[in-house]
């Protein structure tokens, strides 16, 4: 028999299951072993972070011009302050730095346009970024035309050189990589084996031997009397190396497109290049973007190797500044600065690629 037909008032959840205490209990202290791990983790954090904060922030010197201004026990950021121009622009002449800045700003604007999903005209902007911008950057950075003075490449350096190497390597490697990937899937045995050998060769050797090869053997390959700029040699090496990795990314993208797409296009009477250019590649490229960003990140980190063949990229110029007799003993500050710069670039790019992966992953995922 039911005596009471009225609804019971909703009661708040038991105090033990909501609020910060409950969160702590569920996530940090759910059992004895977990509690021990939490305490160990806290201790580790304390041991690592406290001295670092003390050294890098609290006891650090920030303002000044020479090493005499670094009187405290902590880090000496004065060193970075005094050298920041070199770290970013290398030995680029001071009066011409606006050219580098203009290139940076244009580049950033193009990338931002491409990266923000809401903005229109993506195809046109991409075409400008891939075809027009390299020419624009070349004329602006190297000069020699339109009344701009020539700035020799041995004066290029720092972050600017790092970006030049990574971006040029990437933009040049992309078309080669697409061709190699298409060749690898081709039914023509000679084309296929040529592409396989090419890709596997460059993927099998370390970048440093490629750079050695580019800097030592390339001059031998040229007709007698022709000399190649050192930066161009490094760029050739990086492009060849990168194109093989790019080819594998493109191949992955191509494999993700169902075969029916190409067959349907063939049934409409399209020839090979139309099938690829209008049907398969546009779909595949979209899937490839995260992979392309990931290879770009590793290329960006790998550009540091050019310092071994005598170019002064960001790490190279920091390393050179560390051996300056006026600023001996600040290697930690130098490396932390360079590391932070690289980290900011790589981390934001990897976050962007993760975001894209989530966006593109429209299938079922738990």
């Amino acid at each position: 028999m039911i005596h009471n037909r009225t609804m019971i008032e909703a009661r708040p959840a038991p105090s033990g299951t909501i609020g910060p205490i409950a969160w702590l209990r569920a996530n940090l202290f759910s059992g004895p072993i977990n509690s021990i791990f939490t305490l160990l983790g806290l201790y580790l954090l304390y041991v690592l972070l406290m001295p670092t904060i003390q050294w890098a922030l609290i006891n650090a010197d920030w303002i000044g011009t020479s090493r005499e201004d670094c009187s405290r026990t902590g880090a000496c950021w004065v060193f970075i302050n005094a050298r920041i121009g070199q770290f970013i622009y290398g030995l680029y002449p001071g009066s011409e730095i606006w050219r580098v800045n203009l290139t940076f700003v244009t580049f950033a604007a193009l990338i931002a346009w491409l990266a923000i999903p809401r903005l229109p005209f993506k195809h046109w902007v991409a075409a400008v970024a891939l075809l027009g911008f390299p020419l624009f950057a070349y004329f602006l950075l190297y000069g020699g035309h339109f009344g701009l003075d020539v700035v020799e490449t041995h004066r290029w350096g720092g972050l600017m050189l790092t970006l030049v190497l990574a971006v040029v390597g990437m933009v040049a490697a992309l078309p080669i990589g697409v061709l190699l990937a298409l060749g690898r899937r081709s039914h023509m045995p000679i084309v296929k084996s040529f592409c396989v050998v090419f890709i596997e060769f460059w993927r099998g050797v370390p970048l440093i031997t490629v750079l050695f090869m580019a800097s030592v053997m390339l001059p031998l390959f040229m007709p007698t009397g022709v000399s190649v700029d050192r930066l161009v040699r490094a760029l050739i090496g990086i492009t060849l190396f990168q194109s093989a990795y790019m080819a594998e990314v493109v191949r992955g993208g191509l494999q993700a497109i169902p075969r029916g797409q190409e067959e349907a296009a063939a049934a409409l009477g399209m020839n090979y290049w139309k099938r690829m250019g209008l049907i398969v590649l546009p779909q595949a490229l979209k899937m490839m973007i995260p992979g392309i960003v990931n290879t770009f990140i590793s290329l960006f980190k790998d550009t540091t190797l050019v310092m071994i063949i005598g170019l002064f990229d960001l790490l190279g110029i920091v390393q050179a500044a560390l051996s300056d007799s006026r600023w001996l003993g600040f290697s930690l500050e130098g490396y932390i600065f360079a590391g932070l710069m690289f980290w900011i670039f790589c981390f934001s790019m990897s976050r962007y690629s993760q975001y894209l992966e989530r966006k593109l992953h429209t299938g079922h995922k738990r």
Binding site: N27, L28, S30, N34, F37, T38, G41, L42, L44, L45, H187, M188, P189, I190, V191, F194, E200, F201, R203, G204, V205, P206, L207, I208, T209, F212, M213, V216, M217, P219, L220, F221, M222, P223, T224, I297, K301, D302, T304, L305, M307, I308, L315, Q319, L322, S331, L332, Y335, A338, G339, F342, W343, C346, F347, S350, R366
Partner: protein, 396 residues
């Protein structure tokens, strides 16, 4: 009644440029001709350049005396040795740092990757922090950090950091005690081998018995006890035929013991830490790739948590983990070539560096160096393909 339109079965033959087979042939011939022309130009130019510089090609230089010393050698080597021996010394040093790096990176990577999945919020965040910090900083920078900012900043030999008065760390490297084996020590490796064979036999017997009778012994624990206990027992019975040579400060430096040079330490630390961050991500995504239904099904069979992991999750996760893991191992070995930046005597440093500079035999030296890395890569890829074919799920 209905007149079907006549379909021409044999039309006029298409012109040869519309025939895919013939077009492919022409295309490939063009490619071959292009590559051949390119190679011939390069070879011609190279010969002209080499003749102009007075360099003779060939591998005869490998028998010449090298005339430079190497700071770390695994085989006998002196400045009187040949360039050929330099090559071997460099190769062995590369393999040493590569092998130890793979070992350390695997251990750290698996621990961090599993910690990343821990239900403990703090532990999982810490593991994530490790991954995000170390994989987004160039390896070369990390090597420089460990070498110039940490190990080069160590105290001098007189004020060495000491760990229990047996291990010493100073600016010249890490000094470890060296075991000296006396006669009768040979029994211990023998006991170790016997224990391993016995535990394999035990496992097989246990599995058969389990299938036949449903009873089983805790074979894992027994094997562990055998493998640890038997050599230890032999060690005690034979009266511990090992003495340790502890490094000692004499004058300005340490004598005795094993010296680990700082270049090796820096390279090994940086390689392991850097690669471990990638391995951790691979392990995490491998475990997460196993569909939750698998775990739930195993739990529904009332398997205990340990067995769920061991029998259901890990075997499937390994299938996902191992291919990218091998490519990380390859990356580590290739990245060990950065040794040249801090002067660790690996293959690239002593062979493609010093030897190339002394002899000028750029083509031979670079070709040999690249061939070594290519061989390693190809061997590992072949193993991978074989492994993939073996473990691949057979569907439909």
């Amino acid at each position: 009644m209905s007149a079907r339109p006549k379909v021409p079965t044999q039309g006029p033959k298409p012109p040869f440029w519309r025939d895919p087979a013939k077009r492919a042939l022409v295309f490939q011939l063009l490619l071959v001709a292009g590559v051949a022309a390119f190679l011939l130009t390069i070879i011609g130019n190279t010969q002209a350049n080499l003749a102009a510089r007075g360099i003779t090609t060939g591998f005869g230089f490998l028998n010449d005396t090298a005339g430079f010393g190497i700071v770390q050698t695994l085989i006998d080597y002196s400045s009187q040795s040949t360039y050929g021996r330099t090559f071997v010394v460099g190769l062995l040093n590369t393999l040493l740092v590569g092998g130890l790096g793979v070992l350390a990176a695997t251990i750290v990577g698996f621990i961090v990757g599993i910690a990343r999945l821990s239900p403990n919020w703090l532990i999982s965040r810490l593991a994530n922090g490790y991954i995000e910090i170390f994989r987004n900083i160039p390896l070369l920078l990390q090597i420089f950090f460990w070498y110039f900012a940490v190990l080069r900043a160590m105290p001098s030999a007189r004020d060495s950091m000491s760990f229990g008065e047996v291990i010493f760390l100073n600016v010249r490297g890490l000094y470890l005690p060296q075991p000296l084996f006396e006669s009768g020590f040979g029994l211990i490796p023998l006991a170790f081998v016997v224990a391993i064979v016995a535990s394999i036999a035990l496992t097989i017997w246990n599995k058969r018995r389990h299938e036949a009778t449903g009873k089983r012994l805790p074979a894992g624990w027994i094997s562990l006890a055998l493998i640890v206990g038997l050599p230890l027992g032999v060690l005690v019975v034979t009266g511990v035929p090992v003495t340790w040579e502890v490094p000692e400060l004499r004058g300005f430096n340490f004598r005795g013991g094993i010296t680990v040079i700082p270049e090796f330490l820096a390279l090994w630390l940086a390689l392991s830490i850097y690669t471990a961050s990638f391995i951790a991500e691979i392990v995490r995504s491998g475990i997460q790739a196993i569909s939750h239904g698998q775990t739930e099904a195993a739990q529904a069979l009332s398997l205990p948590q340990g067995l769920v992991l061991r029998l259901v999750v890990i075997p499937q996760a390994l299938r996902v983990i191992i291919p990218p893991l091998t490519s990380q191992y390859l990356n580590l070995i290739k990245n060990s070539s950065l040794a040249t930046a801090i002067g660790y005597p690996d293959l690239v440093s002593v062979f493609a560096g010093t030897t190339l500079n002394q002899t000028g035999q750029a083509i031979e030296v670079i070709a040999m160096t690249m061939a070594v890395y290519l061989t390693i890569s190809l061997l590992v890829s072949m193993f991978m393909n074989w492994f993939n074919a073996r473990v691949a799920l057979v569907e439909r």
